[in-house]
Structures are given as C-alpha cells and as structure tokens.
Assembly symmetry: C2
Homo-oligomer: 394 residues x 2
C-alpha cells in the first residue's frame, strides 16, 4: 500500500511501532493483539467503519504489523494501511455474527501460522471491541499460549503527541471553533434542537478551508434546562426556550483527531447562582491551566480547580478531564490518565488533554472546557480561541 493513503509519514509510524515494542518487551509480551480501533489506526493507518465486527492488529516484536479483519474489509485495509498488501488479511463471511463459528477461531489460526502458538500474547481485556466471548474462544483455541491483559499498553504510548499529531489537533481545533461559534450564533428561543444540531454537524463536516471535517467520536451533546443536569443526553425536536441554559459539548475532527470544546448559552437572564458558578468556573479553569505545566501532575490540575471552587463555596468531585487525540466512537478520550485527585501522572510537553471541569447542578448544567497542550515551559496552551464565559442571549 502506498504511504500516500495513510495520514502520517513512515517515520511517524516507525516511531509508534518502536515505542509499542519497547512497552511490549517491558511487559514480557511476544505479540500483541490490538482491538481498540484508535490503536489500530495509530499503528497502521487503518480507517473504516468496520469495528462492529471483530478485527485487530497483530504486532510481533519484528516485521510489519498485520491488520486482520473481515474479508470484505481487507480491501479497505489495503487502501488505508501503510503495510504491504500481504500484511492485510481477511476472514470468511461465515464467521460474522454466527452462533456456529467465531472470528477468534480464524485469529488463532493466523497466530499459530505466525509461530505464536506458545507465545505470551497480550490482549486488550478492557476494550469495547474485545468481547468476553472473544476472549473465551481465543483462550480455548490457544491452550499452549499464555494470554495476558495488555489493556492500554498501546494507549499509554499515545499520551505524548508528535509534532505531526499536534498539527492535526490544531486543525481539529479550528473546526471546533467553527462548530461552537455556529451553535452559539444559532441558539435562540423557538429553534428546534435538532435543527440546531443539523447546523452544528454541517459546520463540522464541511470543515475549515482545505481541512475537511471527519466524524467526531461522540455526537453533539446539547441538553437544555433540566436535561442539562444529566451529562450525556442527546437532542430531540423540542424548541429551545427562554430562561434555560443549554450546554454544547462538541468537537471538530480532522482525520480522526479531536479538540473537544464546550460552552454554555443562556437564553434570557441567568440567575445570580449561575453567574456565581460561572465566575468560579472561569477562575478555576485559569488556575487549572497555570497548574498544567510540565513536571506537575494531573492531580495538580484537578486540585487547583477544586480549590478555587471550594473558595466560592462549590463542591465539585469526580473526574475533570482526560487525554485526547485519535479516536473512534464511542469515546474521544484515550482512557489512560485522568485529571482527578487520585491520578498522579506527571505532565510532559506534547500531552494534550480535554480539561473538562463541567458543573452539573440540581436544576441546570454549566460546561466550559478547553483542549489544552502541555508545553515546554509555563502554563498549558488552550488550543481553541473562544472567549471563556457563559454566553448570554437576552
């Protein structure tokens, strides 16, 4: 497969493979079976909406990785992966959603054929696309191998972004700005929520200039009023109303890279309570950005934010952010470090987080967030440039 189809340089893929192999050796693994679609794309360039059937990447300690999936997706693999066509392989359609056959029977055969019959095999035990059944079948097929939990082994290698990746995230950030601006501009009493979401999606997919928009790993979250006390409701066809806050949790996406960004709009005159929460949240975010510097830890960001909120009499517990970058549905987070008090990951230049200190209160929600880049020196850089405030349309 010619490299021009894959979004990154061969040097970049080589860097990723080398990092992953070092981690594999440290974990005592001979081979990794990678199920997470984001990890598959990160290692090989594979890009297609085919993760609803079993597929993955076989990565040994030498040679090219092998992309393995359904036969009809082999052609998509050959058109998107950087490896030689021989290293993109498919299994027959009779394995698909069958109660008689399971694709892991074919995978076991492929692993045996490559000399991994007695190997130490790493699998991603905690991943959407590695089912309990898949593990059961693979384990029973490979009785002479030892199967180890290698959850997040690849994800952790993705934590520090290369310059090429940061370039992609900056493009996504331009799209995120456009998307949020569209939402804030079009929100008005009487506008049906689905019509607003249609405009938001249109803005995101058209993209900015030559930088075309890809689908974000999460659909627009745009709840209003009491629905905004819940974190993850999607839209319906009811018109927006005066007197309600609506939060927009959105992201532009450039070639699977994200830059999530949230803002909240109030139609009418917000209560003093909400105004106070807004002030506390914005002051807390500034404190968080100051704490988000190389050498500090993820918990320092959370604590800096919580200290400010506590000073204003607001208790905010729980997770307030996660690393982002390349992703596929259902989540744009990388599922490694978290911005929370019990997480002590040391911040390093090139890490990118969605700093997400949303407030979900009893009768309303207020989301103001930033995608932030840890820099060489000083406070983190917010990658989007949208004024940090509760947007009031009176």
């Amino acid at each position: 497969m010619p490299i021009e189809h894959a979004p990154f340089s061969q040097t970049e893929y080589d860097r990723r493979i080398a990092l992953t192999r070092t981690a594999m050796q440290k974990a005592g693994l001979d081979v990794l079976f990678v199920t997470d679609p984001s990890n598959q794309a990160w290692l090989t360039g594979y890009d297609g909406w085919s993760f609803y059937v079993h597929q993955g990447v076989i990565l040994g300690l030498e040679g090219e990785p092998v992309w393995w999936g359904r036969m009809m997706d082999k052609f998509g693999g050959q058109r998107t992966c950087w490896m030689a066509d021989d290293n993109v392989i498919g299994y027959g359609d009779h394995f698909v959603q069958s109660t008689t056959y399971h694709p892991m029977q074919d995978l076991a055969e492929q692993l045996r054929a490559r000399g991994f019959e007695r190997a130490r095999i790493g699998v991603e035990m905690e991943n959407y696309y590695y089912s309990a059944k898949a593990h059961q079948v693979l384990s029973s097929e490979l009785k002479d191998a030892t199967i180890h939990d290698a959850t997040a082994v690849v994800n952790w290698q993705r934590l520090i972004k290369s310059d090429e990746e940061i370039g992609f995230i900056r493009k996504a950030a331009r799209i995120s700005e456009k998307v949020i601006e569209t939402a804030l501009e079009k929100a008005a009493p009487g506008v049906r929520k689905n019509d607003l979401v249609a405009d938001i999606m249109h803005a995101g997919i058209t993209g900015v200039g030559d930088d075309w928009g890809d689908y974000p790993a999460i659909v627009p979250l745009t709840p209003s009023g009491l629905d905004a006390t819940a974190a993850h409701l999607t839209w319906d066809g009811r018109p927006m109303q005066a007197g309600e806050a609506t939060f927009f949790e959105l992201s532009g996406c450039y070639r699977r890279y994200h830059a999530p960004l949230c803002r909240t709009v109030f139609l009418g005159k917000p209560s003093d309570d909400m105004r106070r929460a807004e002030a506390a949240q914005i002051e807390g975010i500034a404190a968080g950005l100051e704490a988000a510097r190389a050498g500090n830890r993820t918990c320092d960001i959370a604590n800096a934010f919580m200290d400010v909120l506590a000073k204003h009499g607001i208790s905010r517990q729980g997770r307030m952010g996660y690393p982002i970058g390349l992703s596929y549905p259902p989540d744009w987070g990388e599922r490694t470090a978290s911005i929370r008090t019990e997480d002590e990951t040391v911040l390093q230049p090139g890490m990118v987080f969605h700093f997400m200190p949303a407030l979900w209160m009893d009768s309303w929600g207020l989301e103001t967030t930033e995608t932030i880049l840890i820099t060489e020196t000083g406070a983190a850089e917010a990658l989007c440039n949208i004024e940090r405030k509760l947007v009031v349309k009176d």
Copy 2:
C-alpha cells in the same frame, strides 16, 4: 419517571418485559444483566450517549427492571426511563476508567443486595459493551452464582416488531428517502465528498416535518471508484470525479429506529459490465422480495437473489441482510438472524430486515438495497419509495 418521556406506551414496555421473561425462564435464568445499549433502550427507554462507560439493565423475573450506570448518568436515566426513580441507580466516579476499581464490583454489590448472590445470571458475552475484563471481575465477585451466556436473548425478542415500532420505522423511512434524495441530487463532479456528507447529515437530522432526525448508528458511507470496492470506508475531502460510481449507504433515524437504504450514482457513462450487474441486481432484489414472505425462511431470500445473479453469470456469496430497528453505534443490525444460505429463520409478519445484496467487484461497488417488512400475506413491503436503479448523471 413520567412515561411521557419514554417514546412508547407502558403496554409496549410491558409486552417487551413479558417476552424477555419468558425467554429467561426457558433459558433457566433468574436474572439478566443487559449490556447492549439497544436492548437497554428497548426494555427501559434509556437513551443517552453514555455507553462508553459500563452500564446496563438488571432484569429479574418480577418487579421493574433496574437501570444501572455511572452516577452522573443516573439523572439522564431518570429523565428517559419509564421506571420509578428508585430503580435508576448510579456508581461513583472513582470506578470510571480506573486501574484500581472496576464498575463490575459495584454491579456485583447491587446484584447481591437484590438477592442474586446465588442466582443463575445471564450476561451478554458477545457484545461490544461487555468486555472480557468486565466478565472476569463480575465472575470473581460472584463466586456463588452461576453466570451463563445470554447473548442475543433480548435481541431475539426484538425480531417481530409491534405496530408502534413499525410506525417509528416508517417515520425513519421517510427520513431515509429525504437523505438519499439529497445525496443523489447533490452528487456531481467537483463536489467535495465531505461537503456532500455535510448536506446528507443536515437532511437527516432536520428530519421530515415534526419527525425530527436522530443520529444513525452508522455514519454515512459514501465511497467512490476503487474505494467502493471496500465495504466500509468513510469520506474524505477529495472532489467527486466523472467516470466513477459512488455508493451511498445511509439511514434516516427516528428516535433510534432505522430504515437503511442504499443507492449508487454514476457520474458519466457506466460500463456495460456495470449496466449488466445493475440489471441482475434489480431483478434479484425483486425475486428476493417475492421470496420474503411469511412462512418462508431467511435463506429463501438469499437463494432467490443468488439464483438470479448466477443466471446472469455473477457469483455473490456471503451475508445479504439482517434485521433492523432500534439501534446504537456501532451497528444498526440486530445481530440475530441473517439473510444468508445457512440461516433458516422462519419469516413472520412484523419482521423488518435490511435486504442488502450489495455487489463489491474488482474495480467498483454497486449498492442497491431496501428495508423490507414481512407482511401477513404476499411479498415483503419495501418501506422506502425510491426508484431501484443505478442513478446515472451524465
């Protein structure tokens, strides 16, 4: 929770619970833990983009089901489920994406508290959202229980649709027509693919009249030329070109219900080969619809299609369809019966399938498909009304 938030009548939910309990008793289960988001919504009305963390429905043989998820999603549960607020429960944020804690520890506690410590518990072993790790933790927490594979036990109950559900699918079909018409109308040489997809999404989400559009479980698939030999590539920013076929695999979505529909457009003059394939495909679909009648089997549809294709000298193997209805990403299929030669499911009135006899050839792809309803008598009804042909724009 007032029932007005849930999309269906209480009678409809009661029907679903009763069907599922009969199946549970047949399978010798005391309780079911339901992970599939579609099954959760079908049983309880739960609707939110929160399936990227562990959540599910606990269904015993009596009483209301219990929706269980992350604490911050409990509020969304209370706003979308039909059950009493007490039967929507949440676990703490420290369980989320942690290497120290696992949500299944909390679930085990909840099952014990409800008297299921020694029960026969059914879990969906083959589901995106029930990970190998989740199964490991749950099994080790509930050593006195017996855990059984209950994959698709709920899905099979969804196969025959109620009148209320068919009403939803008909609304989705109107949106599908609008979406496909938008794609066919706007396709032209020089149009960037992402701009076309933006228009497609906009058409789908705005919906038809009061029937607002929800997000389909699969993003638009719109590959052109050689990319269309692969089944599941998504879009990019390249302009469409004369001399290429582009297939559109799309669905409208009304409150999570789908009606997938595919058509293919050719910009220019298609080859004689493609014209012959088109004729064979259309004749084959008509034969498939004739065979798709109550009392026949799923394989009869596949065989009717393949016989016509063989007569035209085209070999088409593999799966050609699946039941559809309520769904969440990453798949709009129900993962039970398949339209394929080895599947002998008996067709009954109220079943709805995406009959999907696409042709992926060496240098182009041709998708013409229908969402079909099995009726009381006679051939299946195609629910969308879009002329069945290769659309040529010369």
